[in-house]
């Protein structure tokens, strides 16, 4: 190596990196300026950490959260991993929140246990941690904002599919990620209900597959389900990404109308499929309300109005007053059924 190339290479690389870093550093990513070191003085800073980005369900909940943040005078930003199937994927973001000393972290957990250590470090740094949509172990976090009871959701799903397949036949479940707390809670409830309820004695659950909340994977898994179980009568997909992909596959296949599909879906994604007859009815709640409530709850924690104990009450803007239940759970409400009659009334 001759002298010129070494020195010049070092200088060139130095200049390149510095210029890149400067460009990135001055490029405000749009939402808000960096928080002051250590919480306290100034706006309350919150971070929203959904299971993954690019998921319309979480986009809606973040919009609701932003509305609430405006109301309480807090700043909120959304971060998250690209895919939701890796329990460890959320950890770097939680670490960053701890480093930045934000006031509140609102997270939908990909796994009940894996992120607990990271959350512990964040709480040590003074961050209030509230889970929503999908919980961690109760002692890891300060509060859990639950959209509906697991029993309620499971019962509603089975009710819908049973109606649509005429009370008997083979069904399968297309879930999201294998470790997701909420998915597993609902699936467990559904299996228990199928065992115990005499109305469902003729319905058999033949398979549970995982689409990891990724569109292509859910699409391919639906194809595999139909191929491997020729006698399948119904599919339950309690994930908005899964049901959208499954509906799209079904609407172009010869099983349309023969294999019934229900689950949890957003009205905007499902509208074309309800209109063309692929899907009859499905359920959900309003994710925007969920995010809205989560922010109000976090603000109440930060202000010291509540500590997360059972019996605490707090105000959540337009949604009214909420009370904290056992294990630090705050319940939003009940799931709502969408079908051809009412689907045009909603826009999310």
């Amino acid at each position: 190596m001759n002298l010129h190339s070494n020195r010049a290479a070092a200088l060139a690389a130095l200049a390149l990196s510095l210029s890149l870093l400067t460009a990135c550093g001055s490029d405000d990513s749009g939402s808000d300026s960096g928080s002051e070191s250590g919480g306290g003085g100034g706006d309350v800073a919150m971070t929203m950490l959904p299971k993954n980005l690019g998921n319309p369900y979480f986009d809606t909940s973040t919009t609701g959260a932003e509305t609430a943040a405006d109301e309480v005078g807090a700043t909120i930003e959304q971060v998250g991993p690209e895919t939701g199937d890796d329990p460890a994927g959320q950890v770097p973001f939680i670490n960053t929140v701890a480093q930045q000393g934000a006031d509140g972290l609102i997270v939908s957990a990909n796994d009940p246990q894996a992120i607990c250590d990271a959350i512990g470090e964040a709480r040590d740094a003074g961050v209030k941690v509230v889970t929503f949509d999908s919980d961690t172990n109760p002692d890891c976090r300060d509060l859990f904002i639950n959209q509906a009871t697991a029993e309620g959701i499971a019962a509603k799903q089975l009710e819908l599919i049973s109606e649509q397949i005429g009370g008997s036949g083979e069904i399968a479940i297309l879930s999201a990620a294998a470790n997701a707390t909420n998915q597993n809670a609902w699936i467990e409830m559904m299996e228990a209900e199928l065992e115990s309820n005499p109305d469902y004695a003729d319905i058999e659950l033949v398979d549970t597959v995982y689409g990891d909340d990724q569109d292509q994977k859910s699409f391919d898994q639906t194809e595999a389900l139909l191929q491997n179980h020729p006698d399948l009568k119904g599919i339950i997909s309690p994930t908005t990404v899964g049901i959208a992909a499954a509906a799209r596959y079904l609407s172009e296949s010869e099983s349309k109308g023969k294999v019934m599909l229900t689950g949890l879906g957003t009205p905007n994604q499902m509208r074309p499929f309800v209109e063309d007859g692929t899907v009859e009815a499905f359920a959900l709640w309003n994710p925007g309300d969920l995010g809205y409530l989560a922010v109000h709850a976090t603000q109440a924690l930060v202000d010291g109005d509540i500590t997360g104990e059972e019996g605490d009450t707090f105000e959540a803007g337009e949604l009214g007053e909420f009370e904290v239940g056992a294990d630090g759970v705050v319940l939003l409400g009940e799931p709502f059924t969408f079908n051809a009659d009412n689907i045009d009334d909603f826009d999310f």
Partner: protein
């Protein structure tokens, strides 16, 4: 006749030879980036930054050590991330079935060694190209890992072990995992620079046939390096699993590219025969610091990827590019010699 010029008269002074190397360039760059980040990036000077940074790059630091040696011999090992995943799954599955963490970890290390032995056997003794073999074992080991656990993850581990993985030394912010790393780094440095085995590694990289003829056991050396790579990758997998508290078949997917990027950035030549460990360590730290700083600046991960890609390409084309530029520059004429006397006419008939 002039006295012949000796090497010491032509070569550069010692300080130049020591400091003006590729590795120094990387170390200087890393230092500059750290200083710049401390000054401008909010919260970078906070207490947790060093801890998270080192915890994040620890697996890459560990695997980069044997990877450097393998690349110096002119081979490559793309299956390291899959071995990380497989050892993670072994740890999870065995622990789930009742074995304690240390015992499960030991078995995971043995599995890693076996994987490395397979790689080494196919490359060194059967003579297959390492690129193709390790692409195959990348798929095979990852496939076994995913096959064993499906898409589930084992996340219940004895707390004392997961705490150990995220603990720091005393009151400093240096994670405990740095201790085994420093030990391994010293070990590999001694191996590479102070043993005949290490000299053999460089020889193989420059020309493995010639190395063979000078008595280096090429096949055994390569085999040993692949086994080391397997063991260290398995160890990184154990650390990764305990740190995140999650054993999963897809853990560390894509990590091999990060390791190779860091190694090449650190001045190791992909053609083999050249490179040193301190440059590689600086390379890993550089990538880690850039990623950490950008995350704190709320810049998304993709920009980090673009920067790593650009750095990687810049580091490998800089040498040929600058050589080309240097050939175009006017050169100082070498100092003139006394003209040698013209050749005597040879007597006829010779």
């Amino acid at each position: 006749m002039t006295t012949p010029r000796t090497y010491s008269e032509f070569s550069r002074p010692l300080w130049m030879r020591l400091l003006l190397t590729r590795e120094t360039a990387v170390i200087a760059l890393t230092a500059a980036v750290v200083v710049y980040s401390l000054a401008t990036v909010p919260n970078f000077d906070g207490p947790l930054t060093l801890k998270f940074l080192l915890q994040d790059i620890a697996p890459i630091l560990l695997i980069a050590l044997p990877m450097t040696l393998i690349i110096i011999t002119g081979e490559i090992d793309l299956s390291v991330a899959s071995i990380v995943g497989l050892s993670s799954v072994m740890l999870g599955v065995l622990h789930d079935n009742g074995l304690s963490v240390p015992v499960a970890a030991l078995i995971a290390l043995l599995v890693g060694a076996a994987c490395g032995a397979l790689n080494g056997f196919l490359v060194a003794y059967v003579g297959l190209p390492s690129l193709a073999v390790t692409i195959g074992t990348l798929a095979l080991f990852r496939g076994i890992a995913v096959g064993l656990l499906g898409t589930k993850a084992v996340t219940e581990f004895t707390e004392s072990w997961t705490d150990l993985a995220t603990a720091t030394l005393g009151s400093t912010n240096i994670p405990v995992v740095m201790v085994p790393f420093v030990v391994l780094a010293l070990g590999f440095s001694l191996l590479l620079h102070f043993s005949t085995f290490g000299r053999g590694i460089y020889d193989i990289g420059l020309n493995d046939e010639a190395a063979h003829f000078t008595g280096v056991d090429v096949a055994r050396t390569k085999w040993i390096l692949f086994v080391l790579s397997g063991v260290v990758s398995a160890f990184a997998g154990i650390y990764y699993t305990l740190r995140f508290g999650s054993a999963r078949g897809d853990n560390a997917t894509g990590m091999e590219l990060q390791v190779i990027a860091a190694v090449l950035l650190g001045g190791v030549s992909i053609f083999g025969g050249r490179g040193r460990l301190h440059g590689v360590i600086a390379g890993v730290v550089l990538i880690g610091v850039i990623a950490s700083a950008l995350r704190l600046e709320r810049v998304t991960v993709n920009v980090t990827n673009i920067i790593i890609g650009l750095l990687l390409i810049a580091s490998v084309i800089s040498t040929p590019l600058l050589s080309w530029v240097a050939t175009r520059l006017p050169r100082k004429a070498p100092p003139s010699e006394e003209p040698t006397p013209p050749k005597q006419a040879t007597p006829a008939g010779v």
